[in-house]
Amino acid sequence: MRNRFLSLLTLSFTLMVGVSGTALPARRSPVEQEDSRNVTQYLPAGRSPDGWIAQGDGQIARGEDLYQLIDGGAEIFHEYGFEQAVFMSYERKNGDEDKRSINLEIYEMESPAGAYGMYTFRSSERGEEVSIGNGGRLEDYYLNFWKGNVFVSVIGFDSDQVTAEGVKAIAAAVETRITPGGKEPHLVDLLPVEGLKPNGVEYLRGNLALCNNYRLSSGNIFGVKEGVIGVYKDHRVFLFSYENETESLKWFTRGLNHLKNNPDLSGFARLAEGYTMKDSRGSHLCLESCGKFILMVLGTEKNALTAMKHLKKRIGPLQSPAPSR
């Protein structure tokens, strides 16, 4: 195989002349890791919460270093304003055969809105509520919560009772280490309450999270920097917020032009106060500009239009929420 590509490699070396590689940021030494705000402060006190034994010293990542820890998974954390993280593994043995493991992931974000956003991105309506931090929820084998500007995920390797209790115990031990604080962004309050699914809110800080929920286009055609998605029984509501009405209208026009040229959309039609179209899966999309917001509803033809009316009714008198950043 090597010989086969010798000539190609020679060529590539030639092309590489003058191109200098940028080294990845060097891993910090343990001493360096102790500086400034130490994310390890959030780890449970002691090394064996509820009998689960910490394995090693854990892994720490700050800023761009998160890519070294979770590669492509880091993008979404940066979209929500990632600061630093610590990962720790725990084990509990009951004889040689019964060994259980739990992973703990603690992410400190720039703001409570970022921690809340990551929580909404990572969580679903499944599972059961638990009284740990804000939004504590045990979903199958893992538990997520947020508190202040910290997002926490505790992951069991199975969903049986012993592991689930360990997951909850470790989560509770972390929760006590985090300074209380943080409120949901005001934008979330604009979603119609009726019919909103439990944990059916996803707070957005950019296009990546939006694309993961519903892909209008791979590009950020609406210039989304802040938004919220509400999931209802038979439709979804999208609300994008801008600095002012001028900005909103600018992005509405740009986005609309992109959608008109999107071959995956059909039945494009103008309504009295907005537009409607159908996606490749047959869902109807209603789109309107409303003051400093862009409103979008995805559902069947009938309920999308009805939901849009409800949304506008709610947005109308509430068009100036306090800034949430």
Binding site: M1, R4, Q68, R122, L208, C211, S218, G219
Partner: protein, 311 residues
């Protein structure tokens, strides 16, 4: 044992492949590659993942079709994180190594730039050692350990940086776990090849240059397709036994357990098939479309011979 063969039409083998620019077409070029496998995609379902893997590869005609005596085999598994459904199951890697040994491979190694800790935590390291294979960990921070490889057909990615160790092997077996991935929604055989490319280069997939954020996910997907024009696995064995369908690639997320192992040689076809396991369509995934446009494989499952059976 229940069996199902979906026969439509066979894939037209792409004559557009520039074989001389494809890395990975080793000794196989002279033997099995020139003969068509009995099926395009083999899918075996069951609770014994080792058995599923053996059966899937046997359905393609056996490992001997891909590994000749004395050949050196590189295996690319995915030990990204030991969260459930986020890594290749050790028993699948075990079966692949075991079958390579039985076929008379001269050397077998798992290659990676992920730290050894990942291989330990996922249990794959133990399997590699028990089966007598090697584990080659490349220092991800040392760019001198990666070979620049031009991508003549690249649209977004003009040059890959492939770990040099890879070129010491004749045969390349891609053993990913299929799962969700943030943004582009899917990872499988083709995205797994980023595990051979230097992390520094991979960063440019996720961001168009280091300085500016990229909004277009298309860039990442195009880069994946471009990379696949110069690296071609001789065999793909996909873990679809248990995987995350949300919060990928790292998890934790919603787990799906189809208990399937999928084997084949057409990456585009396999990835298009894997999409259907959790309600996606191949044509909804940008890099599958881009790879198809590159002529790497077939994404229309109706044109493929898919063999499905329970172990």
């Amino acid at each position: 044992m229940a069996e199902k063969i979906t026969r439509r039409t066979f894939i037209k083998r792409s004559a557009a492949f520039g074989a001389s620019t494809i890395v990975g077409a080793g000794v196989l070029s002279n033997c099995a590659r020139n003969t068509k496998p009995p099926v395009d995609i083999a899918v075996i379902q069951g609770g014994d993942y080792f058995e599923n893997t053996m059966r899937a590869i046997e359905s393609l005609g056996g490992m001997e079709r891909f590994v000749s005596k004395g050949s050196r085999v590189a295996i690319l598994a995915n030990p990204q994180r030991n969260n459930p459904g986020a890594y290749t199951k050790p028993e699948i890697v075990r079966a692949v190594i075991s079958m390579c040994n039985q076929a008379g491979a001269g050397a077998i190694s798992c290659l990676s730039w992920l730290p050894e800790e990942n291989w330990e935590n996922t249990g794959i390291k133990t399997v590699v050692e028990e089966e007598g294979a090697g584990l080659v960990i490349v220092d991800r921070k040392d760019e001198t350990l990666f070979e620049p490889v031009p991508i003549p057909e690249g649209i977004s990615l003009k040059e890959a940086r492939i770990m040099k160790s890879f070129f010491d092997y004749d045969i390349f077996i891609d053993v990913p776990v299929t799962k969700d991935h943030i943004g582009n929604r899917f990872t499988g055989t083709m995205k797994n090849l980023m595990g051979l490319n230097s992390p520094l280069s991979n960063r440019s997939f996720h961001r168009d240059g280091w300085e500016t954020d990229i909004d277009a996910i298309t860039h990442l997907d195009q880069c994946i397709a471009d990379l696949n024009t110069v690296i071609s696995p001789d065999l793909c064995v996909v873990d679809a036994t248990e995987f995350i369908t949300t919060n990928g690639p790292f998890g934790p997320g919603e787990l799906l357990k189809p208990e399937k192992v999928i084997a084949g040689t057409d990456r585009v076809a396999i990835d298009a098939y894997c999409c259907t396991l959790w309600g996606l369509r191949g044509d909804e995934i940008i890099h599958i479309n881009k790879a198809y446009e590159h002529g790497i494989g077939e994404m229309d499952l109706t044109k493929l011979l898919v063999y499905e059976a329970e172990a």
